[in-house]
Amino acid sequence: MSETAIALKGIDKSFGSVHANRNINLTVRKGTIHGIVGENGAGKSTLMSILYGFYQADAGDILVNGEKVEIRDSNAAIAAGIGMVHQHFMLVENFTVLENIMLGAEDRQVLNAGIARARRTLKELEEEYALQVDPDAITEQLPVGSQQRVEILKALYRGADILILDEPTGVLTPSEADHLFRILEQLRNQGKTIIFITHKLREVMAITDEVSVMRRGEIVATKETSQTSVDELAELMVGRRVLLRVDKGESTPRETRLEVKNLTVDDERGVTMVKDVSFAVRAGEIVGIAGVAGNGQSELIEAISGIRRARSGEVILEGEPISVSGEADPRRLRARGLAHVPEDRHHMGLVLPFEESENAILGYQTDARYVNGAFLNLGAIRSDAGEKMERYDIRPPDPRLKTANFSGGNQQKIVLAREIERDPEVLIFGQPTRGVDVGAIEFIHKRIIEMRDAGKAVLVVSVELDEIRGLSDRILVMFDGRIVGERDGEAGENELGLLMAGVEEEGTAA
């Protein structure tokens, strides 16, 4: 059991100014399930991509079974016996299971022999690891759990001894996840090595033999799972960071401005992302929604702001219900005093090839202030944009500059200025400081608190726990589409971290 399957020595990788992996040293023993945990952006995926040949490390060595290997592409990884189960499945959706499994490992030019071998091997693998999938089923018609099994089978069919699973339970229901765990245990018992990447601590405790914790591109600890606890891992994962100080006084919440009742939202694929969520935001308070990305926060705020249709439930703005399942109309909601800083400023909040001043009216392009009948009032638009740039210290202060040429922080300020300066009653902020430099973060946080102090109802969604804790008067934690807990703004990091990791559930959602 003490043989080494994979050893990473001094792996280093940067993307421009972002240092994604720093001097990573990691040893994974043969025949074990090795968990790698960390927050979003801790560098887990980058590390695994290096191992699977998507990226080349800037420095460092990879040893497989004690031998140094160069992994230039996925072929080399496959040859070294490494298989990967991607978070977003790499399957051809309208292929049969058999075709997907064979793709890239067909044996010969003509498929007949390959098909026969694939069927045989599939049968063996099925028996050996309890991986039942109908080989002739069309992949897209299978439930997600089965599709994932196809991915695992694909790797095994290529003779993988080492399996990397990237956030494998993100798309699974709890019972599917349990099924997966049984499969993984079976695989380990047969001598396979498994690297299990996740941010869900409960899963790590349940399934792994060893666990490494990543934080800010580094591996901060490697522990025997039996020798550690969820609390310790949570603390290691979050770390003792220099808290971004946010100065704010006591909140004085007043009447309810925004109320969400039993909201359920599906995404494009029909997967239910928001499950029966209810909460309220009052004037003069900041409500923060904490959670790991992909737990339904994006869909929640898109549904509230009218961009995405909800399946059922109610959203009540200023005491009046808004249609959540009918034809969505973000423009009408804006007119009724709802402002929204979207999570993804590149694909929603801004049109990057536009001039700054054009983006300064996005969503308000029908506002009487900016148009004369059918025509744009460019004078008003530009002078208005110029004033906002000055007030928000957006640099360079040129309303005619292409938006793509501004830095991330300044781009975000453009969105912020647009939404805040309308003096709305309810504000929704999605990841307000993502990809923003430190100076701008402080500025943005100040503005958000000013809005609260001016008696606005503010909803902040962020995957940065620091940010949520610094800003919020009340914190809601979202996990798997539900609100799994509510805390006040003073809640401890570990406590929130456990909720975010789905370890503790409480309230109506349980």
């Binding site: 961009i307 109309d329 973000p330 694909h347 049109v351 996005l362 969503g363 392009q365």
Partner: protein, 378 residues
Amino acid sequence: MSTPYAKLPAWAEYVLLPFVNVVVAFLVAGLVVLLAGDSPLHAFQLMIEGAFGYGEGIGYTLYYATNFIFTGLAVAVAFHCSLFNIGGEGQAYVGGIGVAIAALWLDRFVPWWVTFPVAIALSAGFGALWAFIPGYLQAKRGSHVVITTIMFNFIASSLMVYLLVHVLKPVGAMAPQTRTFAEGGQLPTLGWLLKLFGLNPGIAPFNITFLLALVMCFLVWVLVWRTRFGYELRTLGFSRGAARYAGINEAKIIILTMMISGALAGMMALNNVMGDQFRLQLDFVNGAGFVGIAVALMGRSHPLGIIPAAILFGVLYQGGAEISFDMPEISRDMIVIIQGLVILFAGALENMFRPALASAFGRIGRSRRDVAAPAAGE
């Protein structure tokens, strides 16, 4: 996300790079001339003389350019909404029906300046109608507008043959065309404009439609960059996500954009039907709808780029006709090649020379130490 292509200074982006692409297209075209056994330089010289050497030539050059301004604008408007309207040919053809209706109905009763606005409205209307169906199918049923507009070109072609042979042809006539319009259906030439410059316009059909084309350039500019609709159109063209966020009605914008595009193409019919032939004939569009694609790509979908690009193709059409007198091997089909090459190099291969240009600028930038670092990305 990082941009896949290197950034260039604005002037290089909008002037130098397109210029390089067009020059390369012409160099390759020169190669074809060489293959045909002629001297490209001599051909070039003949072409310029034919297009600019005398008043009538200039008149013809501008007459052709008028067609291409309309079809170029049509393609450009759709491009701004990231729609590829290949149907300009069919829309212009069907637009001819509108012109013919106006002229056949009014030409004997009223002067041209009464017929003209009616013809403008009807040609635009018929062109818009022909583009409406692909636009509607794209917006509501997701049928790709590229394929449907191609199909509609062919459908238009069959429809027009049918109408000209069975409906519009005067009883007893042989040729599949309408009767010749009376004076009220004939647009005045702009020969006087050329005479102002001491040029003899000869019989060139350079007519008042040219001025309409220039007006349309201005109106398209206003529409795209100065109206609320244009703002929403461009937002949708750049980013569907942002359009959704801004509450823009996607289907409405797509349908209207296609109709405007079709209307512009439809107006092209005025130039030929009322400005030159004074009757509706088979195949009068003669590829002008397709030239619009090259013109729009070359002109970067901006009216100020489209006008020179249209004139360039006018030069090719007129000059090309002249070359064939001296070089019988080089017929007007040479233009079709150049058109294809321009579409290839200014369109599909538009980024081929970008890395080279960018690294050239990079070297210049490095050698000048005072150049500020580019804005920090992410």
